[in-house]
Amino acid sequence: MKRLHPDLSLLFLFGFFTLFSNVCSDLVISKLDRQIDLSSQIVRFTTSLKLENNGAEAVSKVLLPYPENQGKNLAFLSVTVTEGKGKTKTSSDRLHVDVVHPEGMPPSLTWYAVSLPKELSKGGSLTLEVKAVFTHLLTLFPEKITQAEAQLVAFQDSAHYLSPYAVKIQSLTVKLPEPKVESYTKLENTKFSGSEIKYGPYENIPPFSLPTIIVHFVSNKPFSVAQELVREIEVSHWGNVQVTENYNLIHAGAELKGVFSRLDYQERPHVRGASALSSLVARLPARAHSIYYRDDIGNISTSNVYSDSAKTLLEIEPRYPMFGGWRTAFTIGYGLPLQDFLFKSQGKRFLDITFGCPMNDIVIENLFVKVVLPEGSKDISVVAPFPTKETRETKLSHLDIAGRPVIVLEKKNVVPEHNKKFQVYYRFSSFSLLREPLMLVFGFFLFFVACIVYVHADFTISKSSPSYIAKLQWDEVQTAVQQFQNIMNCVLVIHDKLDASLRDLSRTGDVQACKAARKNADAFLKELTKELKPLSAFLQSSPQALQIVPKVDELVIKEKELQEKLMLKHSMVVDSYEKKSGGRDIDNRVTAVQQKITLLRQEVDDLLEVIDEI
């Protein structure tokens, strides 16, 4: 059985404290309270320091050192000034923290300098709360386990706080995930109760004493690590923000030794496979829609969505439960309403959306966030609450000419604390939105122009073949017939106008207007008959129109008869009005003529229909 070797680098720090105690003796930490939360794969240190300035000058920077393996794995650091205790505790905004390299210090330490908002004057005191989040700090011991064994991890740190300042009183609390522990280093003042191990309080520790503590405990939480996560956020001004996330997950816990028995796992999952990764919960914004969960094979149906007015919970299960060392890859996508995430301010538009992964308790080794803005966006800039590496790309998507601008933000070692909002500012004129429908309109118009060109163009090869000539002649006949039809329709309209004038006469009794209408009608009809003559001559002469000519002639004759009868009726009615005979008389005289008129009109209409069908 392998023994746990304490990290030797901590021991080498003894000698360096002699340097520290001379250089940084201004500040004194009067009360230090450290809490180490080991309940998941992400180790969280919460340190509360009460600083007193015992020196002669005001101090504006506080130094925080971290030993080598912690400095390498530090994912997130946040320092705030707190006032009050317990329920009345208030925190200020996050203070600015820089990485510094003080001279004469060993290179294995990582130093952070916190800029205080106000200088700490001589004799003043301040309480700082430092939250540090580390990844890959727990070592698996044993490294390989079988399906039935529990996952044991070891954590190592020093019982006393590493600091360049003298510490008066300090205490350490280590919080475990379960109320049992395999083994822990017992120093003086050590107490284990519930699921917490308390070391301390220690008073006035000499500056070069750093006893190592190792805690070996059971942590059956699955260690889900995403080796690569690509988040693509596509903004469409027509009302949707589409987010697509591609995950490459690995279970970074103790590797599975031996075989995996599905039967054992399904019978008693909590005993055989307690540390398996069986489901993940993603917390999506409210009003997320069109959520899908798939991988290279296809859709994965083991998922659930619970939504309420504040959030949408997506619970997904991978295709198989993941044991130590196993991998899986999948894609999650969802759409969000535009008005929740895109805003306009001072002439620029900006997208306000969360940076990290929506799943809790997942460590991402490489995170790529790609923001795809619509084509025509200019002056793009990014404002993020933590440093990221920025590159630009183009993406060709629907209805694009040159491509959409893409901003790629890259960050390593991302933890759920990084899931804060970031903004992307850009300019976009509203007219550019019309470009897409105009492209479609232009496309359809080209189709119609092509149709027009096809119909107008003459593609016959031989222009003297009999069939081609016959076709041309038939075309001419058709033209003549259509013109004839037009003229007939005009004539009929004039007839209708005459009838209307008669009705007006019966209403108003205005004889003069009626006579004027009659005169107009006569003039029009004369013109139209004149136009009709050349057409009938042409139709008679053309050989193709043999069928039509008799019908046309018949129509002309009938129309003439109709015209005569109509004129007769008109004159009769007008005369009667002038003689001021009664209404009944008029009706009697007119009825006979009227019947003939209606008959003839019917015949004319029928003939017109027949000609139309040819």
Partner: protein
């Protein structure tokens, strides 16, 4: 976030997309039909190029916007 930030949404309300798609496409197809009927029934001499082009232009405007709203209502946010 700046205090004067106003949310931006689509110029046409989301709920109208399917209705607009159907209406505009229906009009567009009716005008396309009249275009093709005119092409088929008129003889060579009688054809009026201006009438053809205007009918085609009006039809393509309706069809273009109708197909845009059809794409948007079916989830392809172009």
């Amino acid at each position: 976030m700046a205090p004067s930030a106003k949310p931006i949404s689509s110029p046409v309300p989301d709920a109208w997309y399917p209705t607009l798609a159907v209406l505009l496409l229906a009009f567009g197809l009716v005008i396309t039909a009249s275009f093709f009927i005119y092409e088929a029934t008129s003889s060579r001499k009688n054809r009026n190029l201006a009438k053809e082009l205007t009918t085609g232009a009006v039809a393509s405007v309706f069809l273009g916007f109708g197909s845009l709203f059809l794409l948007l209502s079916s989830g392809v946010y172009v």
